[in-house]
């Protein structure tokens, strides 16, 4: 495991403990998988598959319940692209946002500094507090663009 990965796992562990939750084997496994994909969006199916390879099978209900708990204490968020299953990602690295291609799912990272002015505008003008973690922007990348004439 990479160094950065390890420190992310440790941060998750201590956040779980601080929240008064128990650090069980399924939870450790899920943390490890999330940390190994800290830039990505994972479905529950992908998480289960990945956990199975590294730590043996866990039940999907356990995964859903664990992810809900992690969301409750603010470690993860989930988002839906189109009609696909929900995708989960860590909220620790919140110095960027995601531009997600609806066709090929390619994700481009944008530094938060480039879009913060807009969020500040929403806050000041509309008293609206943007959820930076839920805020994935959908559209199309250059390659996939031509097929979708209706988009910007």
């Amino acid at each position: 495991m990479e160094k950065h990965e390890t420190s992310v796992v440790e941060a998750l562990h201590s956040a779980i403990r601080s929240a008064g939750l128990r650090l069980t084997l399924p939870r450790r496994a899920i943390c490890r998988v999330l940390a190994a994909n800290s830039e990505g969006f994972l479905t529950v199916a992908q998480i289960l598959e990945s956990v199975e390879q590294s730590a043996g099978q866990i039940d999907s209900s356990t995964a859903y319940r664990t992810l809900d708990e992690l969301a409750r204490i603010g470690l993860v968020h989930h988002i839906h692209f189109g009609n696909q299953p929900g995708k989960w990602h860590l909220t620790l690295d919140n110095d960027h946002q995601h531009l997600v291609c609806e066709t090929c799912q390619k994700t481009t990272l944008v530094p938060l500094t480039e879009i913060a002015p807009m969020f500040n505008h929403f806050r000041d003008t509309y008293q609206f507090h943007t959820n930076l973690h839920h805020f994935a922007i959908l559209g199309h990348c250059e390659d996939c663009k031509p097929r979708y004439p209706h988009d910007a």
Copy 2:
């Protein structure tokens, strides 16, 4: 029916015809419901209920198939908030965007002119073509904010 509503319905009808699709009774009913809620996001369940009141029952599979067709020709889009059922909305009025409160669902409209600079930035810098219709921004309104310390 209001005047603006009527003209929206007519626009939808002619777009359907132009696309080579047939203008059936269920499709007319769905167009009417969408036009009557042109600022909103409707679930299939809400559409079915509303259609039932105005034009009699239609099957949910018909609604899903019709909405998929309308999406294909660019008249509607759908989006998921959290784990809720997908919500559909018209794309005709695309001069604004939506700030949606994740807690109470309150929606604030933002003129496109206020956020266009950011989309242009995405296009110029990242070759990313934002889908203006999918682009609903999640967060919390002033009233619901305090319960969610993790958000911006």
